[in-house]
């Protein structure tokens, strides 16, 4: 795997991206801004579910306000993330933090899709005066926790061996 990735990292596109003085920093900046947007979007929806924010508007209206921004951010995060992987494949693919992050990302997206389907089919969510059911409320809080963990794991990619010790494959190279 290390050998394959080392060879792969020598492909012309990766070399160009990795040696560019601006590509990786620019991708990281966009990645942070997009992550800020998706995190606050998820947080505001959870706060609306708990009755702490966006009062006077239904859950469906709140979701319609924040979800397009969250989806656009997810696209930006994916694209900038892919460029960073291409630029530094060893640093990303070998990191345990990267794979835990991807796992939690899948969990977060799965919970969100279920939640969105519910919000758009159940008429109660279009009524600003109806309290959401406790199960769905818990799901949105869980999404916030998942995104918090994703933020931590994203930063941990840069310190994989330090965080996971001998468990991190990066410690061995």
């Amino acid at each position: 795997m290390v050998e394959f990735l080392t060879n792969f990292s020598q492909n012309p596109v990766s070399v160009a991206l990795a040696t560019s003085p601006w590509v990786v920093p620019t991708m990281q900046c966009i990645h942070i801004m997009a992550l800020a947007i998706i995190f606050t979007s998820v947080l505001l929806i959870a706060m609306r579910m708990l009755g702490y924010a966006w009062g006077g508007q239904s859950v469906r209206q709140t979701v319609d306000r924040f979800m397009p921004w969250a989806v656009a951010s997810l696209v930006a995060l994916t694209l900038t993330g892919l460029v960073m992987i291409l630029a530094e494949p060893l640093r990303e693919i070998l990191a345990l933090s990267f794979w835990f992050k991807m796992l939690l990302l899948a969990v977060g997206i799965a919970i969100s899709i279920r939640f969105l389907r519910r919000v758009h089919t159940d008429a109660a969510y279009a009524d600003a005066t109806v309290d959401p059911d406790p199960g769905t409320r818990t799901a949105t809080v869980l999404t916030v926790v998942v995104w918090l963990a994703i933020i931590f794991l994203g930063r941990f990619i840069a310190y994989d061996a330090l965080i996971w010790g001998p468990l991190s494959p990066i410690g061995y190279i």
């Binding site: 920093p25 801004m33 508007q57 306000r65 530094e88």
Partner: protein, 173 residues
């Protein structure tokens, strides 16, 4: 005591040494800093987009701002605490660092922009609270805020490329 001595005393203080000690202390503080940035930038962006008349237009400006104020300040306090902790172990080089100084300058300008907006434009909020788009003074404040806070993120990220980073792949590139 001159400034060099002052920053050296910070760097070699017990708390500075603690942040820099082996183990996951530094990455954890850095992750918390990213969470704080996400809160500050994400919530400010929601307010700025409302000021520009581009989003959340079905709610009065004061309702949008009220919902987000505590999150913004909570995030800002967390960003300052974690930011000071991250500054300490590299105090002697960081206070001379161009990217760091630019970031502090942009933070100051963002603060001035907010202060002018709060003291001048918000005074007449009763007139434009539900107006879409809001008056030019409010839109200019929103646009300046997005630019300045975006700049804070960019220069904050660039500090990491200017100072020595413990990157196991630095030698491979």
């Amino acid at each position: 005591m001159n400034l060099d001595e002052f920053f050296a005393s910070l760097q070699y203080s017990a708390i500075g040494e603690w942040v820099n000690s082996a183990g996951p202390t530094f990455p954890i503080i850095e992750s918390l800093h990213v969470v704080a940035i996400a809160l500050v930038f994400g919530t400010i962006l929601i307010v700025d987009l409302r000021l520009l008349g581009l989003a959340s237009t079905s709610r009065p400006f004061t309702a949008v701002a009220h919902d987000l104020l505590k999150l913004t300040w909570g995030g800002f306090v967390l960003a300052v605490i974690t930011g000071v902790l991250l500054f300490l172990p590299n105090a002697t080089t960081l206070w001379l660092n161009f990217e760091f100084r630019t970031k502090m300058m942009l933070l100051l300008l963002a603060g001035i922009n907010m202060l002018v907006f709060e003291l001048v434009t918000v005074r007449r909020v009763g007139v434009w609270d539900i107006t879409v788009p809001p008056p030019n003074a409010a839109r200019i404040a929103g646009l300046l805020s997005i630019g300045l806070w975006g700049g804070v993120i960019v220069y904050g990220r660039l500090i990491g490329f200017a100072s020595a980073v413990n990157d196991p792949f630095a030698l491979l590139l």
